[in-house]
């Protein structure tokens, strides 16, 4: 029966249909796709979506595949809609500080284009060589500089999406200020492709800071609390500031008894020099003796390594959460999780965002089997202390059993109505999102 349902897809122009073992390269958690379609045009993407909706097929939109473990496992995977052939810069005039880019473009490719004009889009993703613009938007992923530069929704100025009725809807445009119509682009940013498939996105971009400096320092015993209070009073607001612990072999600086601190500074050269003196003085006052300094491209690389932590999995035996609150509480939660993990014989790595109130915690057990028995006690602690915590990645059993997105928001009924309005047949990523929308 499914074979018949797929037949209309093969009639759509500019749509590559891949099945059999070739489709298996598209992985959604522990599952592999049986059939994937790769549109070469927006029209083909919209037509494919319409055909799937009409045939009752469940569709999983697919960018670079770096965040397909986010959310609950989908109810069904009939068709993977891969956006990788929709790539490239659609429009870019550096003097306008705006850019329009196809959804399947990788973050690395985008960054290179912008850097050639001395500009950037400060939205950081893990694995930028694979992660795509569409995926970053759909997941709403906010990297470590989000507290300063904003999230994908803040820099998004226009969006083209394919809807399940086969139409293409626009919102916003190519201007930096725009209140014409509902800002439906914001609705799609972070909706995990449950309302429509992102085809093209427009962003405001900005000049790359002439000076970029990354400062990292090991935290000796008894210094962490002291350094936290001093970060708030720095003259120059850093673009990223974190306290970390663990991540052995994944970061290019040393860690102390209480982990390490990492700070990214961006600005004019003179400004960065003063900010560095100020930061050194704050670290010194907190009893931190020395720091590693990485400048320009090396600073960018260090920041990229930090951003890769968001996607850092240890094959089948780790789970990562994002907890949200003020910094002091985040650090206290991290310490409590460390204690629970010792009892459960798990390893804990964490990164606390000092500017944005987020704690990334990765819990790893010696084996996948061990994780199954150890993780529930950590999950219980997390749900008790931080009910809104988000499970970022974990084996499928955990994503099926645990409340991945935290508690249901008070507006969940309205969210369901919006889902019904845009995707009445439940074609898109059904079951993965908040409230298993």
């Amino acid at each position: 029966m499914l074979a018949d349902a797929y037949a209309p897809l093969r009639e759509i122009p500019d749509l590559d249909v891949i099945d059999g073992s070739q489709a298996g390269v598209f992985r959604i958690g522990e599952q592999r796709a049986r059939l994937a379609v790769r549109p070469r045009t927006h029209a083909a993407a919209a037509a494919a979506l319409r055909a799937c909706a009409a045939a009752g097929l469940h569709v999983v939109p697919y960018g670079g595949g770096t965040a397909q473990t986010l959310g609950h496992p989908p109810f069904r995977i009939d068709v993977v809609l891969a956006l990788d052939l929709l790539r490239g810069i659609h429009a870019y005039d550096p003097h306008d500080l705006t850019l329009s880019v196809e959804a399947g473009t990788t973050l690395a490719e985008l960054a290179q284009t912008l850097a050639r004009a001395g500009q950037h889009l400060p939205l950081d993703g893990a694995q930028p060589a694979r992660a795509t613009v569409g995926g970053l938007l759909a997941t709403g992923h906010a990297g470590w500089r989000a507290g300063t530069y904003g999230r994908p929704r803040d820099l998004l100025i226009g969006l083209r999406t394919a809807l399940t009725d086969g139409s293409q809807a626009l919102s916003g445009g190519m201007v930096v200020k725009n209140v014409t119509g509902y800002d439906l682009g914001k609705l799609h940013a972070g909706a995990l492709g449950t309302l429509g498939v992102i085809l093209r996105a427009n962003f405001k971009v900005m000049p790359l800071a002439p000076a970029r400096r990354f400062v990292a320092a090991a935290l000796p015993e008894g210094t962490r609390a002291s350094v936290l209070t001093r970060i708030d009073t720095l003259i120059l607001r850093p673009s990223a500031a974190l306290v970390l612990r663990g991540w052995e072999g994944e970061l290019p600086w040393k860690s102390g008894d209480e982990g390490s601190i990492a700070v990214m500074l961006e600005g004019a050269a003179g400004e960065i020099d003063r900010a560095t003196r100020d930061l050194r003085s704050a670290l010194g006052a907190a009893g931190i003796p020395g720091a590693s300094i990485f400048d320009q491209a090396r600073a960018d690389d260090a920041l990229a390594q930090l951003n890769d932590l968001w996607g850092s999995e240890i094959g089948g035996r780790s789970a990562a959460y994002c907890l949200r609150d003020d910094t002091t509480r985040l650090i206290s939660w991290a310490a409590m999780l460390e204690r629970i993990a010792v009892t459960e014989q798990m390893a804990v790595d964490f990164a606390a965002d000092l500017l944005d109130g987020r704690l990334l915690v990765r819990l790893a057990a010696p084996t996948g089997h061990a994780l199954r028995s150890s993780l529930p006690s950590c999950e219980e602690f997390i749900r008790k202390e931080a009910p809104g915590a988000r499970l970022l990645h974990a084996p499928e059993w955990a994503r099926r059993e645990f409340p991945v997105w935290g508690g249901e928001p008070s507006a969940i009924a309205r969210m369901r109505e919006i889902k019904r309005a845009f995707d009445p047949a439940g074609t898109l990523n059904a079951g993965r999102y908040v409230g298993k929308i």
């Binding site: 306008d96 803040d154 445009g173 209140v179 003020d326």
Partner: protein
């Protein structure tokens, strides 16, 4: 409706009390207006004091099928708070408290009727500010700013309202109270804060706002540059951006605007100039000291006859004074004005300004320009007599031509004033049928009966369901000018 109104008003009174209900025609007339030229008389005005009262009012109107139009300070420029379908105006003016300020986490919780500037004044002694600063900030409310997703001169780097709202308490169209967004980052679910901002009161009524406050910059430098023409000033704007400097504000005023502003505000502007740019840099001292001389040099290289840098806060305020009161100053050169709000990519400024001038000339009217050049957000003020239907008709024609020019240049029909009643029938210039259908589907999902602020934002024929029928309505200024004349006679 009128026959039913006695018992209905009793029920309104039961919710808000005697002093929270206005039904006297003399009082109602004050709520016919906003900052646009639109007019319509409500059946009643309610002034709730609590979110619970708002919810009860919405439930009542929802149950009775009575249209409800939320209202902040009534400073909107697109007719967003005009009760075109009659019904009840819900004024948030009495819900104006600052409920809490948390400087450590850089946020404030406020009620929707709080005046924008009052928040900045409140947090200023602690070294903080609220960034969105529409020119009407001394009167407009933060709830109204959320509805319109307001901007202002300082949003070039700082962003607009949506970038500064963390959490909203809402009353939905059926009277349900919900909270959307979060004080902590990345709450789960679709970004309802993002889509409520700019929804012009058509999908929910905001009863509480948690907004971001930010530290004031260490160093601010404000300067004025005078040019022979708008084209030269526009090219200077592009040259500044091309140099890698993004000022926090880049405002332009053309010669007719300068004459009116100077006569009104005595701000000391060079009235002989063809155009003036007002630029502001905010950052750490080193960055400002590095950038300011470069901006001066770029302006001079671009033909600026004069560049004046404010030496102190007093001079800075003087430079801003004229700009902030620019719209009010237009009364010096014309009985009324029709302001457009199109946005274009900033590199297209010179050609589109030529088309603005041409559009006004073609219909025999004058135009003055005061706008956010850095954002490409035009504010052409077409000067006309609002009691002369023929002039109004010509102003409409020029306005439409300007909006077409903006869309053809890759821009948008409104940057910050909203669609409201005024521009809803121009939505088709910018968006396809499919996109308008998506907007309507969203509106229907949130407010199936279109109880909240009907006849706004969506094109007529899409926007207002009454008695099960879609109605075409009169919307544009020619009809309104005729109606104004009738209203003038009636009152």
């Amino acid at each position: 409706m009128i026959e039913q109104s006695a018992s209905f008003t009793q029920r309104l009174r039961a919710i808000v009390g005697d002093d929270g209900l206005l039904t006297d025609p003399q009082q109602l007339r004050l709520y016919m207006y906003d900052g646009s030229i639109e007019r319509a008389l409500p059946l009643a005005v309610v002034l709730p004091r609590t979110p619970e009262q708002v919810a009860a009012l919405v439930r009542l109107c929802h149950a009775e099928g009575v249209f409800l139009t939320p209202r902040g300070a009534g400073t909107g420029l697109s007719g967003g708070s005009i009760p075109l379908c009659g019904g009840v105006v819900l004024s948030l003016a009495r819900m104006k408290a600052i409920l809490s300020v948390d400087t450590e986490n850089q946020m404030a919780t406020v009620e929707p009727g709080l005046v924008n500037l009052d928040l900045t004044r409140h947090v200023s002694p602690k070294g903080f500010q609220y960034v969105p600063d529409p020119s009407s900030q001394g009167a407009c409310t933060i709830g109204g700013n959320v509805a319109e997703n307001s901007g202002g001169p300082h949003t070039l780097t700082g962003g607009v309202t949506t970038n500064h709202v963390l959490e909203l308490q809402l009353v939905l169209a059926d009277g349900t109270q919900v909270s959307v967004g979060s004080q902590a980052p990345d709450p789960p679910g679709p970004d309802l804060v993002g889509v409520v901002c700019g929804s012009e009161g058509t999908i929910a009524i905001v009863t509480r706002i948690v907004c971001r406050i930010v530290r004031k910059a260490e160093c601010v430098r404000t300067m004025l540059a005078a040019f022979d023409s708008c084209r030269a000033a526009s090219e200077a704007v592009s040259a500044v951006i091309a140099s890698g400097i993004v000022p926090t504000a880049m405002e332009m005023m053309d010669h007719p605007a300068l004459s009116a502003i100077e006569a009104f505000s005595h701000a000391g502007y060079p009235v002989d100039a063809g155009a003036v740019l007002l630029l502001e840099l905010e950052a750490l001292r080193e960055e400002v000291e590095d950038a300011a001389p470069r901006v001066v040099e770029i302006c001079r290289a671009g033909g600026a006859s004069e560049v004046r840098v404010a030496r102190n806060e007093e001079e800075r305020e003087a430079l801003w004074k004229g700009r902030k009161k620019a719209f009010g100053a237009m009364g010096r050169i014309g009985p009324s004005y029709y302001v457009q709000d199109g946005v274009i990519p900033r590199t297209r400024l010179p050609e589109v300004l030529d088309r603005v001038e041409e559009a006004a000339r073609k219909v025999g009217l004058r135009v003055a320009n005061v706008f956010h050049a850095g954002d490409g957000n035009l504010h052409p003020l077409i000067l006309f007599d609002d009691h002369d239907p023929d002039q109004a008709k010509r102003a409409i024609a020029a306005g439409e031509e300007i909006l077409r020019a903006c869309v053809e240049a890759g821009g948008s029909i409104t940057g910050e004033h909203g669609v409201g009643m005024e521009k809803r029938d121009y939505m088709g210039l910018q968006f396809s049928e499919a996109t308008l259908a998506a907007f309507t589907a969203f509106r229907d999902a949130c407010d199936p009966g279109h109880t909240l602020n009907p006849y706004k934002l969506l094109p007529s024929g899409l926007g207002c369901a009454e008695g099960g029928k879609r109605q075409k309505t009169l919307t544009q200024m020619q009809a309104l000018a005729e109606r104004n004349a009738a209203i003038g006679e009636a009152y």
